[in-house]
């Protein structure tokens, strides 16, 4: 979503959420492009739309109205042909010792956004790019309180000793904890290439028996004459996602750099698999 909005002219320093009122046609067009590319689920332009993150972007006090608007645009683009997920990202607040956040504070942040998305008619809530299991659990609990189905992905790095979040959470125990907190589908997104994520999904499947979601980036970002490009092409990306399905992923999608072309190829690959 962010990649596409940047291609459409989202300026430096502009929060993607600011386009919900400033450029609603473009946001809706981005949703429509993903729906037409063959997505089963499209998601709202609300990754940074918790009250704290919005305030940091100069959009203080606009959580309800922006999340409602985002749902309206996504549902209109979907026209009932796809499910619409309300998208939720990290608050940017850190727990001690790194920061001063408390679980109550973060739960309230996520509950405010989750309720706004649910009231707007979300079919499910998709929590993404969490790098601290404690924050992710706050988000799951808040999302769960809406009664909607909850998807949750975390982002892991490949280190010498294995795959970890920056605070040291491991894949298997994180997925189990997220499921126990009430998420129906749990998994991984962002940060790594499809090749690395494939090995992470294999690790996840070995130690977790619930439903898994995988949303890799379209490779590593590279400079090109036309701007930023990711170094995995749509056809290879789709092949990696098929491998992830083979490895045990139940839901697949794309994160940074995965424009509608990537989703189109993935749709094709999934439909043609034997």
């Amino acid at each position: 979503m962010g990649t596409l909005l940047m291609q459409m002219g989202l300026e430096t320093g502009e929060a993607p959420e600011s386009w919900l009122f400033k450029e609603p046609e473009k946001v809706e067009q981005a949703h429509r492009d993903y729906a037409e590319a063959g997505s089963d689920i499209i998601q709202t332009n609300t990754f940074g739309a918790t009250p704290a993150k919005l305030a940091a972007a100069g959009l203080e006090g606009q959580c309800e109205i922006l999340n409602a608007r985002a749902m309206e645009l996504a549902r209109s683009a979907s026209g009932g042909k796809t499910l619409v997920a309300g998208n939720i990202g990290p608050t940017g607040k850190l727990f001690p010792p790194m920061g001063t956040a408390t679980e109550d504070e973060l739960f309230t942040e996520f509950r405010t956004q989750a309720e706004a998305l649910a009231s707007g008619g979300a079919d499910l809530l998709n929590i993404e790019t969490m790098f601290d299991l404690r924050e992710a659990i706050c988000a799951v609990r808040a999302a769960n309180a809406t009664g909607l189905v909850v998807f949750t992905s975390m982002t892991f790095d490949k280190l010498k000793r294995g795959h970890f979040t920056m605070v040291g959470d491991r894949i298997g125990s994180s997925l189990t904890a997220l499921r126990n907190a009430g998420a129906q589908v749990v998994g991984l997104n962002c940060s790594v290439t499809p090749a690395t994520m494939l090995s992470m999904i294999q690790e996840a499947r070995e130690c977790f028996d619930g439903s898994i979601i995988a949303q890799p980036n379209a490779g590593d970002p590279q400079q090109s004459p036309d701007g930023i490009e990711y170094d995995v092409d749509p056809v290879s990306f789709a092949a990696y996602l098929l491998d992830m399905v083979e490895a045990g992923a139940d839901v697949v999608g794309g994160c940074c750099g995965s424009t509608p072309d990537f989703i189109r190829e993935t749709r094709k690959a999934l439909d043609n698999r034997g």
Partner: protein, 214 residues
Amino acid sequence: MSDQLGLLNDMRLSILDGDAEVSRQLAERALADGLEPLTAIEEGFVPGIHEVGVLWEEGEYFLPELVTAAEALQSAMAVFQPFLGDKVSVTESGRAVIGTVAGDIHDIGMTLVGTMLAAHGFTILDIGADAPLETFIEKAREVDADLVCASALLTTTMTRQRDLASMLAKSGIRAKLMVGGAPVSAEWANEIGAHGYADNAVHAVNVAKELIRG
């Protein structure tokens, strides 16, 4: 092991454990026992923080351990501070403006560096990701910053570090520029006229301190 070696080893362990209460007590004991503060720092506490950096690079320690270790070091240093005078500069801290350059929305690495600098006593002004270059300059002027730290995670946005270096040079601001980010290297930092480069958050603290020392 002699008493002194045992004490120095306990100091190292207090940093590895990230126990600010124990490190403070050990620093007080060192003073009471007549151990030179510089010896305690250089042979007790500092080896601990170096080991923490190694453990982090090995994937044994993570962000919370880094921060608690740095806080334990700070707590010991606070005890020694009145006795150090101008003999040692490891406690020097300063003001740093930190952000990810315009066009780049990656903020995890920057947050990591900001957190580590703060834990080592720096006052951090975090201007966030996708920060306009003018904001780096304005904020640095506003707080009379010692350091400007600019992160870039994309090959496309790292060129903005070059623009920032020349803007800083023209602005007449005294702050030094430290750069970092996945595509950034020491050669790049040198080429664009940045004062320092760090490839991880532990390294960034050392570089920042060196830059401030001048």
